[in-house]
Symmetry: C2
Subunit: 349 residues, 2 copies
């Protein structure tokens, strides 16, 4: 498809400029729809930062590295608000499922006798350890809604503040410059097919190495109870246990972005799409479980509320385990030899 | 093996007398080792009651039915104490696993600052919602230990009382009579091979029908979250969900006891041993979860204790789900056609 004639720097620049254009479109869209605009901004920021990492030998590091740091700051800032929204929806949905109630609204509205915008529902039940446990689910939902809505509102303010900051304007200027010119290294003059597949292959290899180092055999045994092991232990235990999985999720994203660059000749690995979904689910369950543990530390909550939060925490840790199980089965049963030759002639462009 | 010459009643009587002998041996053993003696008494009581049910057409119902009722009373009475002991061990072990602590003793002894025989650990923490959640595991263990040890002590007293009662002496007399003479029906005069395999086959068929009516397809999907669904709902929901599985466990026991009678020619179904283990695990997890929910209703427990109990409850419901998963896989993958002809020439004697 003519990749022979294109230099590595040329293909790389084309991809970066495409992403820079998306970024600037996101910026101009912000007046109309913040949510859509932020998703666009975040997606292009992550892609630019990702390929600057994978294809680092092609770009002037003095320019690329500070830019990557700024892009990481922006995408982290933009990511928080939707994460809190997703987390709340996930937890209220889980509480609904756990209490076998009809709808999320049913769980929330069952938080009688207080209206949802009244004082903390716990106050009414404080000291009422003998209160029906079923009420705990509704109170836990109300507590999580308050806490996560507050966090979401704060994240929204932080985003607005960031978007108005001189730091953001500096970043937007860099992206605007990027749309017209990318500072390349001399090595970028080599033909694309001599450089890009090797660098994309390294990103893929880093993913495979990290995924193969996960405890996949254990995770592939259903109901191994590994993920829930730390449910009542120190939080550090869960963090240490989850970290390698989060790392694989990041490496997977890098490998996928690297594969989007024209001429990268990515591996024909059909697992990647589903694997990304499963690791995202793993992350959401892991962070939701942590949010529940945090809510359980709220002073003066009723025992029934704490009990429901405990059930919910364990449930989310089992979701973590379920995601690991599914990932392990996916990665092992369709497992390719990571050292095999690249699949011939596979292009995503 | 000479079964042709034996009448159905003869084989049935031989088995009953063997069990009656075991019962009387258990009775005489009681002065030395209560635990061993009770296990022997209970095992033979369950077997006699079981075969009286399965082979009902062979025994005089006016004699058999009141005897079965008395045997059911005795085995239920004798079963309670070991059940509480097993339940406590299971729950303390689960708390140890969930808090990733070293030993069960570590969990219990971590219930600082109170000694294990001091006043309720909750008192110290009452109102201390911000207390570290990790302490909750130790307090939950201490609470469960108190409650289940009390229940066990009461069950022990109830057993002692039952063994000294005129009701028990009446039952023991019936068993002593049974050891020498079983009141049979006229039909029991038929050859064993014409009667016993059909009755044992009916017991097996009742088991298969009930097992096949379970939601095996859903249970065979790992992490289906079915068993935990009722964790925060009404207790009735869990009871309704678990009941068919408990029923299969009872039918499985009846089929196994029926197969022990000489000449019963039981099906060569290799699943039965493992299936019994899994359904026993299902029952223990189900009843342990209920005990945790009950403990969570203790007035004035600390939120951290309630939280740990919530985690533990969900964990035990996941154990319920894990047992169903394993049973479903076992029953389906090695599944035999329940309507197939009996395996030829298979005898356990």
């Amino acid at each position: 498809m003519g990749t022979v004639a294109i230099s590595a720097g040329g293909a790389f620049t084309a991809y970066l400029q495409q992403q820079a254009t998306a970024f600037l479109r996101g910026l101009s869209l912000r007046g109309e729809s913040e949510t859509e605009a932020d998703a666009l901004l975040r997606g292009s920021a992550r892609r630019i930062a990702g390929v600057l990492h994978t294809y680092a030998p092609l770009a002037d590091p003095g320019w690329a590295e500070p830019l990557r740091a700024e892009l990481a700051w922006l995408s982290a800032t933009l990511g928080r608000e939707p994460q809190y929204a997703t987390r709340l929806a996930r937890l209220v949905d889980a509480l609904r499922r756990l209490s076998a109630a009809g709808t999320p609204e049913a769980v929330l509205s069952a938080a009688l006798p207080l209206p949802s915008d009244g004082p903390p529902a716990e106050v009414a039940a404080a000291g009422g350890g003998a209160a029906p446990l079923a009420l705990g689910a509704a109170r836990a939902a109300a507590l999580l809604e308050r806490q996560l809505t507050l966090a979401r509102t704060r994240a929204h303010s932080a985003t607005l503040q960031a978007m108005g900051s001189s730091r953001f304007h500096g970043l937007a200027d860099s992206i605007a410059v990027l749309a017209s010119e990318v500072p390349l290294t001399p090595g970028a003059a080599q033909p694309a097919h001599e450089v890009l597949p090797a660098l994309a292959g390294q990103a893929y290899q880093r993913l495979c190495d990290a995924a193969d180092a996960l405890p996949l055999h254990r995770a592939a045994l259903p109901y191994n109870a590994e993920a829930v092991q730390a449910a009542l232990g120190a939080e550090l235990t869960a963090d240490l246990q989850d970290a390698p999985w989060h790392q694989v999720r990041i490496l997977l994203r890098l490998a996928r972005y690297a594969a989007e660059v024209p001429g990268a000749e990515p591996r024909a690995d059909e697992r990647l799409g589903d694997a990304a979904t499963l690791l995202q689910r793993h992350r959401e369950a892991s962070e939701s479980a942590a949010a529940v543990a945090s809510a359980a530390r709220t002073p003066r909550i009723a025992p029934a509320t704490a009990y429901a939060l405990g059930v919910l925490h364990a449930d989310q840790r089992h979701e973590v385990e379920a995601a690991r199980f599914a990932f392990s089965r996916l990665w092992q049963t369709q497992g390719q030899d990571a050292n095999a030759a690249p699949a011939p002639g596979v292009r995503t462009e």
